[in-house]
């Protein structure tokens, strides 16, 4: 038996973050009453004309630049013809021969640490279809066209992915990117980021690709991995038992964990595309591209690399701090304000994330601005408060509007660094605990912590821990 090599390409539908639809002024807000956001254009009523949403174009350009693609000076909308009840016009407006974005790439860091570049063949603008409801009306299907006309960017890779795990990683990397550059909210439950996978297998030593099947309806990272693995196994079994893979569209059913053929897509290869006479080509000027390039933020992967290089963070920290733009901006502002990136990284990925997590808040609702937190970190640096006291101060800052200095003063949390004062406490603890002193001198090093703990307790946590350590050592050893 030959060793089989899976070959996978993904088509990801990225819903663009616009207020209104790609060709009409109807709202794209999620969760509205059925059909309350489907206007005459979305319904395909006679006599209507589509007019292109400028923001959809701007977001497509931004994406193209972020993946190092070329932006077409001229791209053309085409009609993709098929009949389905949730597509009222009988065609979907899409781009075919001349898409807006061509030939980009996305770099993956594999679990081995190795990097792999995935080529992105194209990304094209199109409108979404509506939604069919099959279980609400006996013997009939209900159609909700609120989603019809929502702008999508379909991002198509070359068949460069060679396992389900790689496919998931590509999808995650793309997901991070589109959220970071603010072109998509990435909400997979609401269908803002959907994946179709083209899967084939070939003998490992064969240069020719096998026949592929397209799997639709992969709306979570977990499903993508399961469905692709399942499809790879199905094709290998089929080929090894002398069968042939048929080019077809298969639907993934997460309840049964299987893919099955979609008979409705029998004519899927025959969409009879032609340029849409209702829409002129999109013409994009060099100035427009230059402006979009200037407005593009530094991207997550570049930031991650810079955090490793400039700040000496480890990969995990760098990734956590660079994968969302508001987090990255907060972290960098804090690092600049407190002058210590290492300390800033610890606090953001420690206390800040923990507090957000505990209160179930998105980062946008953070309670302590980078400036206020920098004020606290400065007080740790100048030894006004110890690190553990600072956590109490942070908690108070999280709950109220005061800055660190006001809280430290009001609550008397100023750290005691005066060694005379601490020395008195150390002396007292040593003289009151002769048994522990004897144990320590007999070589039981663990008792050391007991002395430090007692001194800290008597100082109500305010003694400088380093001073306490030093004094306990010197007193016990003499």
């Amino acid at each position: 038996m030959p060793r089989w090599q899976p070959v996978i390409g993904l088509e990801i539908h990225v819903q663009l973050s616009t207020e209104s639809k790609i060709f009409s002024g109807a709202s794209t807000a999620f969760g509205a009453e059925p059909n309350s956001q489907a206007c005459a254009v979305d319904l395909g009523l006679p006599g209507v004309l589509p007019v292109l949403n400028e923001r959809a174009v701007a977001l497509a350009i931004r994406f193209g630049l972020a993946i190092g693609a070329s932006i077409a000076e001229r791209s053309v909308f085409a009609r993709k013809n098929y009949f389905y009840p949730d597509l009222p016009k009988g065609y979907q407006i899409s781009q075919y021969a001349e898409p807006i974005v061509n030939h980009g790439r996305l770099c993956l860091t594999l679990p081995s640490g190795e990097e792999k570049e995935i080529r992105i063949l194209r990304a094209h603008l199109e409108e979404d279809a509506g939604k069919s409801v099959h279980d609400l009306f006996p013997g009939q299907s209900g159609i909700d066209l609120n989603r019809a006309g929502t702008p999508l960017l379909e991002v198509v890779t070359e068949p460069d992915l060679s396992s389900a795990a790689e496919a998931v990683q590509y999808m995650r990397t793309l997901h991070t990117l589109v959220r970071f550059i603010g072109i998509c909210d990435g909400n997979m439950q609401e269908g803002s980021f959907r994946c179709d996978a083209n899967v084939s297998v070939k003998p490992a030593d064969s240069p020719t690709l096998g026949t592929r099947a397209e799997i639709k309806n992969l709306n979570s990272f977990r499903f993508v991995e399961r469905a692709i693995n399942h499809e790879i196994e199905r094709q290998i079994e089929l080929l090894e038992s002398g069968g042939k893979v048929v080019q077809e569209t298969r639907l993934y059913d997460p309840d049964r964990d299987e893919t099955r053929s979609m008979r409705s897509k029998e004519d899927a290869h025959d969409y009879r595309y032609f340029p849409d006479p209702d829409l002129l080509p999109i013409v994009i000027s060099a100035d427009e591209i230059a402006a979009a390039r200037a407005a593009l933020p530094e991207l997550p992967q570049q930031r991650e690399a810079r955090y490793l290089r400039e700040f000496g963070l480890n990969r995990e920290e760098a990734e956590a701090l660079s994968s969302e733009l508001p987090v990255a901006e907060y972290f960098e502002a804090l690092a600049a304000q407190c002058g210590d990136a290492r300390q800033a990284a610890n606090w953001v990925s420690g206390e800040v994330f923990a507090a957000l997590n505990r209160d179930a808040l998105p980062f946008s609702e953070i309670r302590v601005s980078s400036g206020r937190l920098a004020g606290l970190l400065t007080r740790i640096q100048d030894q006004t408060v110890s690190n553990s006291m600072a956590k109490q101060v942070f908690e108070a800052m999280w709950q109220g509007p005061e800055d660190a200095d006001a809280i430290i003063e009001a609550r008397g949390l100023r750290q005691v660094t005066d060694s005379g004062e601490i020395e008195a406490l150390v002396d007292a603890v040593i003289s009151e605990n002769p048994d522990q002193v004897a144990q320590f001198r007999a070589g039981k090093d663990k008792v050391f912590g007991f002395f430090v703990g007692q001194v800290m307790k008597r100082s109500k946590g305010k003694a400088n821990p380093q001073t306490v350590n030093d004094l306990v050592v010197s007193k016990l050893k003499t």
């Binding site: 616009t18 319904l43 949403n53 299907s141 009879r272 080509p281």
Partner: protein
Amino acid sequence: MLEEAQVQTLARLARIAVEPAELPVLAAQLSRILTLVEAMEAVDTSGVEPLAHPLEPVPRRRPDTVTEIDQREQFAAIAPAMAEGHYLVPRVIE
């Protein structure tokens, strides 16, 4: 010359019911359209920019603002069937 089978395929894709007796007639008529296209293809268009629209104006783009109001009730009035806000169609099962 189009085959009758090709005409049948086109009819299915366009959801048009065609009687078998009509197929040869349609095949002949549609073939005449293709002949016309072939005649036009004979013209040398190398170096000629494709014409997207006879007016060739600068394509307008719309600002991204919501300008439509909910007119579901009016649309419902001209829909064949509607229930609980949904347009109803014969059952489609995947």
